[in-house]
Amino acid sequence: MEAKAKIDQSKFRQRLPDYIFILCNTIFMCFIILIMLYPFVNTLAISLNDALDSVKGGIGLLPRKFTLDNFDQVFKNARILTAFTNSVGRTVISTAGGVFLCSMAAYVLSRKEFMWNKFVTVFFLLTMYISAGLIPMYMLYGKLSLINSFNVYWIPGLFGAFNIIVIRTYIQGLPDSLVEAARLDGAGEFRIFAQIVLPICKPVLATVGLWIAVGNWNDWFTTAVYVSGQRNIEQYTTLQYELYSELQSVLARMGERQSEFLASQGAAARQNTTTVSVRAATTIVAALPILCVYPFLQKYFVKGVHVGSVKG
């Protein structure tokens, strides 16, 4: 008994550095969680806090004076409602169109017997590295009259070389006999694609669809570049663009204040009263759909990264 206890003790002593390491590691991980989550919880707290009270600062993880007024203000704002509709609309259309186009291209490229297989693959892959740049694209969109229209949100962005590679890799993993059997039964290529390959590819289509959807939802730059003029912006604004312009005004005020040495502090502070809380509420509205969805779907995203790193 005594001997065994001794051994245990020595083992413990031997393992002591390990335990310290695990402890430090766990503390570090908790620290990471805090860093990643704090800004969101803080924004949520501000958005649920009374606007006048928020200006005093010092709101941490919980709202001090609970109210839903800020959200009420956001949803009463006609401009933000338009932005919300546009954001949802472009996300839905781009995702549906993009998934269809990419999967059709991927199906054709996954067939080894296709004559132009190599040429088309290279033709598509080169687009990942060659880009004409912003100005030629702007000129082209102007010629196609995509500027200042809703179409600029979905027409140019349907194609994605990387998405095609991911779907193609998945289709190549399916047994060939599936397609062969359908072909023997007399189905045409498009029919095989639409009725046999597409339903089987649901997991990978979900991955690609989510990428496209998140990319579209998060995009503000398209609006900033291709929509100009007060009336057009009011009509074609998106949620992210609204956040962007609010942020710009905050930063501009910050620069002003710095250079003018708090000349008009009172007025600036009063203006802040509404913007800080409303901005927090808008941020929550813009972030909430993704926050709700991503924990359940992250395995699809991760899978996609693996496929891409192997084959890309």
Partner: protein, 542 residues
């Protein structure tokens, strides 16, 4: 069996009692007819005799359709045409008249051939007649395009588009001509002629694809209605594969093509789309060699903008900012994500690990706008950082901090996501290594340093080489979102410069020159990186 079923359906439908190929040919014929009509309606040279026009009642209305086809409107300014520019005065040879008549005769001929084939749709020569008619039509259209290009008015003698088109069409004709002798010789010496034939055929196919796509795009960009003849032309050409029976065709390649025609119908529209949005804009690079369009008429001025760019102090400032932020992002991003992946790998409780992972992915899924808003909140004069430090410094208006703010912002947003690839690499390390290390008395920390880290060395190397290829892309979103008047000196990167000067200040040529510079250098770097990683890591990236 199949035939009887077909005829049963056909007899029910009554007048639809024709095979599929009849309807397809009819469509093609209508296409030819419309193109010819549009052409004739615009061609004053042949139809200057009004009595000819009366043969086709209603053709006058077609004259109002502003189509690209038609020579008449070009005749007024012969002195300005490319033809005059390159070949001098040829008006004495009546070249317009001759060309117009040749084209009209060829159109009539192709129309007649297809019509004849349609009438005799049961004969065994049907296929041959159809191919003859349609290829005659295609040939006529190409001839026509070359001719309109030559006689079209031009403000600058050096119109890139026309030169590209002329080169394309010369190559197209050359590869087509190359195929003919090889095709004849093929029967005598099949092996020798095979490679030349293959080369010529693939050149012909890809060139005709590019030519036709460029034609459609050019036509569409003028007005949609201008594109109608070209679209009809392409549509009537695309009916050809339906007319041929793969079993009857002698050429192996052609029969393979016919078996796969569905693939082509699926992929060619997508290729055209990709061409339009990814390759066609490259033509806009010519803007970098032109004078400012806002100041005067476009004219070519060579490398003036590039010289201007490289001698201007602004450019070197932008390069310094871009490279500075890229290097900071690279170093911070790599060290933190490797560090985090190594530590995350040591977490043994499965659920805790999963929770940490999920939460660390969170910022990756949110837009830069939201992230920038949170960074601003954090760095405000009454923000969290100042509360912790006990100061009231305004971090975002201090230019010296900007690169580090961008760097740490990037780390916060993507550190969790970047660990995925390292964690995957870690799982492929041989577990025996850990066991033998344990026998040697190594602790967890020692194992992490001496086994896990060397185990993912090749992954790190490949990723590092790959990101060096993208070193000129320091991002534009953070800079545009967080930069302000006080920090622009440090925030301006290549991409933001292109946006701010190009789109906002409308200085197109300068911004295009800079964008072009970036793309070219990036392609060189990426090719180099791919070569290097092939050499060192035996793994291709592209």
């Amino acid at each position: 069996m199949n035939d009887t079923a077909n005829s049963a359906i056909a007899s029910q439908n009554g007048f639809l009692n024709f095979p599929k190929r009849f309807w397809v040919t009819l469509t093609g014929l209508v296409g030819i007819f419309i193109v010819s009509m549009l052409n004739w309606a615009h061609d004053d040279l042949i139809f200057q005799f009004t009595e000819w026009r009366e043969l086709f009642p209603g053709i006058e209305y077609l004259r109002d359709v502003p189509v690209r086809f038609g020579l008449a409107d070009l005749l007024g300014s012969y002195q300005n045409t490319n033809l005059y520019f390159y070949f001098g005065d040829l008006s004495q040879y009546n070249i317009f008249k001759i060309m117009s008549i040749v084209i009209a005769v060829l159109l009539v001929l192709s129309f007649a051939t297809v019509l004849f084939a349609l009438v005799r749709y049961r004969s065994k020569h049907f296929t041959k007649l159809c191919i003859l008619g349609f290829s005659l039509f295609a040939f006529t259209a190409l001839l026509y395009i070359v001719f309109t290009m030559l006689i079209s008015t031009t403000d600058t003698p050096l119109d890139t588009y026309k030169i590209i088109m002329a080169v394309l069409i010369v190559l197209l004709v050359a590869s087509f001509l190359l195929m003919i002798p090889v095709f004849i010789q093929k029967r005598k010496d099949p092996v020798k002629s095979q490679t030349v034939y293959k080369f010529a055929l693939s050149a012909f196919l890809s060139l005709s694809f590019i030519t036709i796509t460029m034609l459609i795009i050019e036509a569409m960009l003028e007005t949609i209605i201008t594109a109608i003849p070209v679209i009809i032309f392409v549509a009537s050409l695309s009916t050809i594969p339906f007319l041929l029976d793969p079993a009857e065709v002698k050429s192996k390649r052609l029969s393979r093509f016919l078996h796969q025609k569905a693939f082509f119908y699926m992929i060619i529209p997508i290729m055209a789309y990709v061409f339009l949005f990814s390759y066609y804009p490259l033509k806009g690079w010519e803007m970098a060699f032109q004078d400012d369009p806002l100041l005067k008429e476009t004219s070519y001025i060579g490398f003036k903008w590039f010289v201007f760019l490289f001698t201007e102090g602004e450019f070197w400032k932008i390069m310094r900012n871009t490279l500075g932020m890229s290097v900071i992002n690279l170093v911070l991003g790599f060290t933190t994500s490797i560090f985090f992946a190594l530590l995350l790998n040591e977490v043994r409780q499965k659920y805790f690990k999963r929770v940490v992972q999920t939460i660390s992915y969170l910022p990756h899924f949110l837009s830069w706008v939201i992230a920038a808003g949170m960074i601003t909140q954090f760095l405000m004069s009454d923000g969290l950082l100042n509360q912790m430090l006990g100061s009231d410094k305004v971090w975002l208006t201090d230019a010296d901090n900007f690169w580090w703010i961008v760097g740490w912002g990037n780390v916060w947003k993507s550190v969790g996501w970047n660990t995925i690839i390292y964690l995957a690499a870690i799982t492929s390390i041989d577990p025996e290594l850990y066991e033998s290390a344990e026998l040697d008395g190594a602790g967890r920390f020692a194992k992490m340093i001496h086994i896990t880290l060397p185990g993912i060395k090749s992954t790190i190397l490949v990723l590092l080489i790959m990101s060096i290829g993208w070193i000129l892309s320091a991002g534009y979103e953070v800079q545009l979102l967080l930069g302000n008047t006080l920090t622009w000196d440090r925030a301006e990167t290549i991409d933001t410069f292109v946006y701010r000067y190009g789109i906002q200040d409308m200085r197109f040529p300068l911004a295009t020159a800079l964008g072009m510079f970036k793309t070219v250098v990036s392609i060189i770097l990426i090719t180099g990186a791919n070569f290097a990683s092939k050499r060192f890591a035996k793994e291709s990236l592209v």
